[in-house]
Each structure stands twice: as C-alpha cells, then as structure tokens.
C-alpha cells in the first residue's frame, strides 16, 4: 500500500481536525460533495432536510461501528466480528427488554457489556494468543453468530419495551442514533488526539517494534482497541435492535466489510498508523449518500450494485490522484 506522506492525523487540535478535515482527507470530501451536487441535480428529493436527516440516520450504525474499527485498523489489526457482534448484542439487549422486566438501562448495559466482553476476548486472543487478528476475529464472527442463534433459538426476539425502541426514535427533531454517532465520533477524535493511549494507538500501528522499544505496552494497546471496538459494536447492536424493535440473530450480515470500507475510504491505512475518525465519518457518509441516492433515483437493483462499486472505487481513485 502506498504510504501516505502527510501524516499529521494525530495532530494537536482535534476540533479543527474533525470539523475542518485536513488536506489528507480533503479530496474524499471533494468526491463526497461532487456526488451530493450531482444527486441534487438529478433528483429534487435529495437535497431536502428530511432526506438529509434520513441519510444521517442510515449511516449512524455503520458510523458507530466504523469509529470502533478505526481504532483497530490504526493499530494495524482488523476486526471481522462486528456484524455478528451486532446480532448477538442486539439479541442480548432484546432478551432483557421485554416490557416491565427491567429498567431500560439494563438491556442497554447488557448489550454493550456483551460486546465489550467479546471484544476483550478478541483482544486477548490477538495479544496473548498471538493469533493473527484476521483469524481471531473471523473465529469470533462465527462464534458470536452461533451464540446469537443459540440465545434466541434462531428466531427474532420481539416484544420489546417501548422505552428501548425510543432509542431508535428522535430527540429534538434529530434521530437519536445520529446524536449517538456524533457523540461517539467527537469523543473518539478527542481521545485519539489528546490522550496518551490515543497516541500509542498510532505508534503501535506505525511501527510496532519501535513502539515496543519506546516502552509502550503493545499488548495493552491492542487489548484496548479490540475491547473498545467490541463495546461500540455492542452499542450499535442495541441501537439497531431499538430501531427494528427486535433482536435479530441474523442481523448485521456483512456490516464488518461496510465498516472497514468506510474507514479505508476515509483515509485510514489498513497497515496501520495513519488516519483518524474524521475521515471515517466522511467515508461512512460517502457510502450512505451513494446508497440513498441510488434508491432515490430508483436505479434497478442489478445496476445499483455495479454503479455503487464503481462510485466507491472512483472516489478513492480521485482521492489518490488529487493527493499525488
């Protein structure tokens, strides 16, 4: 992979980094704006407040997952278990969310806890077991899916208390999942730029051996990122369950690839050390806008896949060209 020359992603002023993306992320922003422009010319339905809120809501899940994966990719790892974790944690949350059973924090906490636990296992297997992240998280992908099916008996866990489903609703005109995504992204951006652990995440991904010889506990950093990624998957699982009002054991298929795609489109390198959550948000937006636009334009489903693939590759290609 060509290494990106500009590498100030871990810079000092996070707010600027997040809100006014630096040159590194500049051109994917350009691609995004170009697509938005084209879409608003092609269909009057695109550039409406209702639809933009719509897009925001639709990317919120992928966005939350992608923020977690950003951490993992920054250390040079990968997490394939997200989709299954979303299913598992959704099922777990739904199990505790029958009306009148427990207060609403319980299902939320249980879902996030389940995700955290699975993430912790991923991290442990990667660090102490020295198993390649691809295999460790692929294993978790299968295991968590099996657990989700087992817990739910293979059927959706429904009859969810309206308090929990409200999480999929709105607050002050903004969808709650979108608010969650914003909070998560800002917090993650701040964390990466301003904490020691954040810095260490970049160091481990940039050169693991050098990080080690600078006295950084590489296992601790890795354990942290996988656990965090699991926790965010848990959060996403709870939000999804709230949104679709059930815990679906077969939900989340392929979410891991979408999340990784958002991160990579956003300029985070798969080999680690370079990137950040600001770009990830843009990447998730790009994917979301494409999906939304193609639906609005009523592109037939075969062509939709072809066009979608081409636009994504094209956007990243443009990004490369304008950078070089």
């Amino acid at each position: 992979m060509p290494c990106r020359s500009e590498a100030d992603a871990s810079g000092g002023r996070p707010l600027r980094d997040l809100l006014m993306p630096s040159i590194q992320r500049g051109s994917i922003l350009i691609a995004l704006l170009a697509i938005c422009l084209i879409l608003s010319l092609m269909t009057p339905n695109f550039l409406t407040v209702a639809n933009l809120i719509n897009v925001a809501r639709q990317i919120s899940l992928n966005g939350i997952l992608a923020v977690g994966v950003t951490f993992v990719l920054l250390t040079g790892g990968v997490d394939l278990s997200l989709g299954s974790l979303v299913a598992l944690t959704g099922v777990v949350a739904a199990t505790f969310a029958h009306p009148g059973d427990y207060p609403v924090v319980v299902p939320i906490a249980m879902g996030i806890l389940a995700g955290t636990a699975c993430g912790f296992v991923n991290g442990t297997v990667v660090t102490w077991g020295k198993v390649a992240p691809f295999i460790a998280t692929l294993g978790m992908m299968t295991i968590a899916r099996g657990l989700a099916l087992l817990v739910s008996g293979g059927r959706p866990v429904s009859n969810m208390s309206p308090e929990l489903t409200r999480l999929g609703g709105e607050l002050a005109g903004l969808p709650i999942p979108v608010l969650i995504l914003l909070v998560v992204t800002l917090a993650a951006g701040f964390f990466l730029a301003n904490t020691r652990m954040g810095r260490h995440v970049y160091a481990v991904g940039g050169n693991e051996r050098a990080a080690r010889s600078a006295g950084i506990s590489v296992p601790r950093v890795k354990l942290f990122v996988y656990t965090l990624c699991g926790a965010l998957a848990g959060l996403a699982g709870v939000v999804l369950a709230a949104r679709i009002t059930t815990g679906q054991p077969n939900a989340g298929l392929g979410y891991e690839l979408d999340a990784i795609a958002a991160v990579v489109i956003g300029g985070t390198s798969l080999s680690g050390g370079v990137g950040g959550v600001g770009g990830t948000l843009l990447g998730a937006l790009l994917i979301g806008v494409i999906n939304n636009g193609l639906d609005l334009l009523n592109v037939s489903s075969y062509y939709q896949q072809i066009v979608k693939g081409m636009i994504i590759v094209g956007a990243v290609w443009l990004d490369q060209k304008t950078k070089a």
Binding site: N54, G153, P156, I244, N250, L297
Partner: protein, 296 residues
C-alpha cells in the same frame, strides 16, 4: 461409483432406529426453524433419528451435505432445497445411491421420491391479489425483494408480477432488494418515502422481516394508515402485527405441517408403505379477520 455404493448399505444407528439425513435451507430463518422443530417432534414420535445439517443458503453446501449423507449411509434424505436448479444434484446423489429423497417446502428440477410443500409463486400471487383488492385495482406499489437470484425471491417476484400484469391499474413504482433483512428494508423504505412518498399506496415485501422493516419506517415517518403493507411467511412478529392492525396481511405457509408431513412421508417410504408423490400444502392469506386461527 465407489462413494455411492459404499454408502448405500443403509446402516442403522446404534439403537436400531432408522436414520434420516436432513439438509435445511437456513437455520437462522425463523420459518425454517419452525420446520426444524416440527420435524424433530415428528421424528421423536415416529422413532427415527434425524441428522440435521444447515446449508446456510448455499446450494453447493447442500450438495456436499447430501454427499456426506451418502457416505454415512443414512436411510433416507429430507432436503429443504436452497435452489431449484443448483440443489438438484443433491437429489440426484441420494437417488443414485439408492436412498429415497423427500423434498420439503420447495421444489428442485430433479424429481425426488416425494415432495411435501408448496409453490412459492402462489404466495406472491396471494399477496399481490390482496393488494389489488385493497387498492381497488388502482395505485402505486413498491416491492421489496429478497436476496436476488435465490429461488424464493425469483418465485415470489414471478407470482407478484403475474398479478401486476393482469391489473393494469397497479403501477410498480420501484422494486429493490433488501436481502431478506429487516434493517435494510427499513432503510430502503425510508428512502422510497423520500422519493415516492405520496405515490406509494402499497408495499409488498417478499418476507415478513422486510415487511416489518418497511412498516417501522412507515410508522416512524407518519405515513401510517395510508400505505398497505403485506408480507409473506406469517412469522410470530408478523402475525402479532396483523393482529394489532399494523401489518395489513401476510401469507401463511404451514411450516409445522410441512415438517411433520415430510418426516412422516420419509418414514412411510422406509417402511415400504405407499405415499403420495406430491403433497401440496397451500398458502393462506392472513388478515386481521382470520389471524386468530394462526396465532399459537
């Protein structure tokens, strides 16, 4: 061939019970889970042992499982085919080894020893006919497809289109896949409400999961009551929604009946009793009026 001939000595399990190999379409689908349960119950009663494999929607896997059954020397095979064409070799493998094969739920091109199930086109037809009736043969319809290329998607679409062709007043505004997934259907519906909002008068989703997703999108955006939503499968959630008057209709397919009858048929074949070659279990439309009889 060798693999086949070796397996064809129908070895029985330790207890002397006959063994039936079952390859199911996908055990993470609620409908198939219901078939699975009824088969287990029937097997218990009839004193046969089931070896149940999950093909996870892959016909190639299904063929492998049939081959494994042959190698294990099961006495009969029950196949819940993933595909019409691609699952046919699974039937062929079993028959070639002298093992009776019963297809359950849907058909394959190759003729099995017996078939228990229904024709999926019918479900699409029933759902779309209901929509036509509700709209008085006039109005905009959208269709949410299952995973493209899969037998159920193709057949349900075919059935629905048959009705659309007969009803010139019904306009298909858009159709798009949501891959059987509730969350995807929800997003898709949200998008459609943006682009076609006031034109959409009915939604046909090829399964209840997607229908529930569309329903949630419609409810959340306040279009409730103006759009007819119909699904297929009559899963528990769907039935409850019909009862509550949220979902307008779904199409019931008797999973329990299919599973039970399939096992019974296989056992009768093993006992040398006569069986019907094809048992069609019809679909039934479920609306608020008759939902009570389908609720557990």
């Amino acid at each position: 061939n060798r693999a086949d001939s070796e397996g064809s000595r129908g070895t029985e399990s330790e207890s002397g019970q006959p063994v039936i190999g079952v390859s199911l379409l996908n055990l993470s689908s609620e409908f198939i889970v219901m078939i699975d349960r009824s088969m287990r119950e029937a097997a218990e009663e009839l004193g046969v042992r089931l070896v149940i494999n999950d093909a996870q929607r892959s016909a190639a896997r299904q063929i492998q499982q049939a081959e494994s059954f042959v190698a294990q020397g099961v006495d009969a095979i029950i196949l819940n085919p993933c595909e019409v064409e691609a699952s046919s070799p699974a039937v062929d493998r079993g028959l070639a080894a002298g093992i009776p094969v019963v297809n359950v739920n849907s058909e394959t091109r190759s003729r099995p020893t017996a078939f228990v199930g229904s024709r999926d086109e019918e479900s699409g037809r029933l759902a779309m006919e209901y929509i036509a009736e509700r709209l008085g043969g006039e109005g905009g319809v959208v269709m949410i497809q299952g995973y493209m290329g899969q037998a159920a998607q193709i057949k349900r679409e075919a059935g629905a289109r048959e009705v659309l062709d007969q009803q010139p007043g019904l306009r298909l505004l858009a159709d798009q896949t949501a891959e059987w997934d509730r969350a995807q259907a929800m997003s898709l519906m949200e998008n459609w409400l943006q682009s076609h909002g006031d034109e959409i008068e009915a939604v046909f989703a090829q399964n209840d999961e997607m229908a529930m997703g569309a329903l949630l999108a419609i409810e959340r955006s306040g279009w409730k009551g103006q759009i007819v939503v119909v699904g297929v499968d009559a899963i528990a959630d769907g039935l409850q929604a019909v009862q509550a008057g949220r979902l307008d209709a779904t199409v019931f397919q008797d999973a329990a009946g299919q599973g039970r009858t399939a096992v019974e048929t296989a056992v009768r074949i093993l006992r040398g009793e006569p069986v019907e070659e094809e048992v069609f279990i019809p679909f039934r439309l479920v609306t608020q009026e008759n939902v009570a009889q389908f609720l557990p």
